[in-house]
């Protein structure tokens, strides 16, 4: 070993150690603490699996997971279906010089406070809110419709957020496609519809998968939107977790539920990994 490589040893470790240390201390260690906590009894006992068995034995807890999966699946599907044509219009129909502005406008509310955005939807959907005023005012409905504090409200709130997120990712994906693909398809006699179906759509599929997975992960772990818009009529997993802390101070059960939630996300990741990898290749 010579001096050059010796001095080249200490420096790189000095550079990466703070970040690694922070991650170990405030991410890995808390996770281990949570895992340990999930295996202890709430009333200060020793090792137990009861927190996990509670989840599997209590139909109300089960139901929260089922609700979460249903809402997340619906939200992901609707958001992709709404966002793809929108991103396509921005990328293909809007003149190039306006594209950046059009995209920035389209995702502007994405950057507003998450809490404030959900509250804004409450204003829109409330019993005496804008939509109900419009419905009753136009004479379509005699009585206001119950929109807030329903699963529908949760889904609308989520879709609003994820349409913006997916528009961003799909737009980036469409712009990455070389225009020569489309020219080549047209040159070989494909019309606009067939070009889209056989060339553009398959080539953007990996990007859609990544966006959809991101939607899934963020949606299933979110507490704010279902709490503000869905209320407590039907619980989703994050609400159930927070309820254990807030009302009962039951850290072990909350930890166990968090870990189950994380496990579901991991399983979803492993199931999608095949498609998600295409992107990197």
């Amino acid at each position: 070993m010579n001096s050059a490589t010796n001095s080249g040893r200490a420096l790189p470790w000095a550079l990466v150690t703070p970040a690694l240390g922070w991650t170990l201390l405030f991410f890995v260690l808390p996770f281990l603490a949570m895992a340990l906590s999930s295996l202890t009894a709430h009333d200060g006992g020793g090792f137990t699996l009861s927190n996990y068995s509670q989840f599997f034995n209590n139909p109300a807890y089960w139901q929260a997971m089922v609700n979460s999966l249903q809402v997340t699946a619906i939200v992901t599907l609707i958001s992709v279906l709404l966002a793809y044509p929108f991103a396509w219009i921005l990328a293909e129909q809007v003149p190039a010089r306006w594209q950046r502005l059009a995209l920035m406008l389209a995702v502007l509310p994405f950057w507003t406070s998450y809490v404030v955005r959900s509250y804004s939807w409450l204003l829109v959907l409330a019993q005496n809110g804008v939509i109900n005023r419009a419905l009753t005012g136009s004479g379509l409905f005699a009585e206001p419709v119950q929109l807030a504090n329903t699963r529908l409200a949760t889904i609308i709130g989520f879709v609003h957020f994820f349409v913006m997120l997916l528009t961003l990712t799909i737009f980036a994906n469409l712009k990455q496609l070389s225009p020569s693909y489309r020219k080549a398809a047209a040159d070989l006699g494909a019309g606009p519809v067939r070009t889209f179906l056989h060339v553009v759509l398959p080539l953007t599929m990996p990007g859609i998968m990544v966006g959809a997975f991101l939607t899934f992960v963020l949606c299933i772990g979110d507490y704010i939107t279902p709490q503000i818009l869905g209320g407590n009529n039907e619980l989703l997993m994050p609400q159930l977790v927070m309820m254990q802390i807030g009302r009962r101070g039951d850290f072990p059960l909350a930890s166990a539920l968090s870990i189950i939630l994380m496990a579901v996300v991991t399983i979803a990741y492993l199931a999608c990994a095949r498609w998600l990898k295409i992107e990197r290749a």
Binding site: L11, P12, W13, A14, L15, V16, P18, A19, W22, T23, F26, F27, L29, P30, F31, A33, M34, S37, L82, I89, L90, Q93, M104, A106, L108, P109, W111, T112, S113, Y114, V115, V116, R117, Y119, S120, W121, L123, V124, N128, V130, R133, H160, V163, M164, G191, P192, V217, G221, I224, P238, V241, M242, F251, A254, S255, S258, L261, M262, V265, Y269
Partner: protein, 265 residues
């Protein structure tokens, strides 16, 4: 003939669809801002004319104003820490061959795949167990956990081979390592560093669950707004929400400008 009518139909349908989606996206924001400007006690239709009454109420509310200052402080400090740690580690990983580099980089970016709720829960359990009291500092630590991988990923992705040669050239001309860092790497990477910083600022500024779990008396603005929500629909919430929106827009515009500035280089 036929293809031009098809193209025309596509254009018209596209236009209608885009208008509908823009409408959907902006509906809640417009309602929020509009009814923050009305003097009545309920932010509901009909709109009764502009007034800044509720903005005065927000600015007179010391709980809200101090939460706003707290939020800015936590966002600025935690983002500065996150971007510093992210930059140093990105530099280390991009420039030197380290054993297990792929695994260690994976570890740093791992928190990106875990929801804020679970990160917050973990810290809550750990701090509870270690006797660390709930505080803004605890929330700030959590914010660094969520923003460090983001800063690392942005800066690491911008450290290309061309920059490796630029640093080599500086070393070749006699610059010691710390001068390479200060005179070459930091200025060359400045756009990515600023982008990481402002993106962290917006995320920290907006973050709710971690702050909710880890603070008690002194808290951040999103948590304070959450507390306001208990009183139902309230024009004061509209006003503070509109202010928060305005700050976010400023941060995003700064972030966009950073990205634009990076382009010609």
């Amino acid at each position: 003939m036929r293809s031009s009518t098809v193209a025309k139909a596509i254009r018209i349908l596209s236009g209608l669809y885009a208008i509908a989606i823009y409408g959907f996206i902006f509906l809640p924001v417009v309602v929020l801002v509009l009814f923050s400007l009305q003097a009545t006690s309920f932010p509901i239709p009909p709109f009764t004319g502009p007034s800044l009454r509720w903005y005065d109420a927000v600015l007179a509310d010391t709980r809200l104003t101090s939460a706003l200052v707290n939020s800015l402080l936590v966002a600025a400090i935690s983002s500065a820490v996150a971007v510093t740690l992210g930059f140093l580690s990105a530099w280390g990983f991009a420039r030197f061959v380290l054993p297990g580099s792929g695994l260690l980089r994976g570890l740093i970016t791992l928190p990106l795949t875990v929801s804020y709720l679970i990160i917050g829960m973990g810290l809550l359990v750990l701090f509870n167990w270690a006797g660390v009291p709930k505080s803004l500092l605890a929330a700030g630590i959590g914010h660094v956990v969520i923003n460090l991988p983001l800063c690392f990923a942005i800066i690491y992705s911008q450290m290309g081979d061309h920059q490796i040669n630029i640093e080599r050239a500086a070393r070749d001309l006699g610059a010691p390592e710390w001068k390479v860092l200060l005179l070459i790497t930091v200025p060359v990477m400045a756009p990515a560093i600023f982008a990481g910083f402002f993106l962290s600022m917006t995320f920290s500024w907006d973050e709710f669950v971690i702050s909710f779990l880890l603070t008690r008396f002194d808290t951040t603005l999103p948590v304070e707004i959450w507390n306001l929500l208990r009183s139902g629909l309230n024009p004061k919430t509209n006003a503070v929400g509109s202010l928060v929106f305005a700050v976010s827009i400023v941060l995003v515009v700064m972030f966009e400008l950073m990205l634009l500035r990076r382009k010609p280089a």
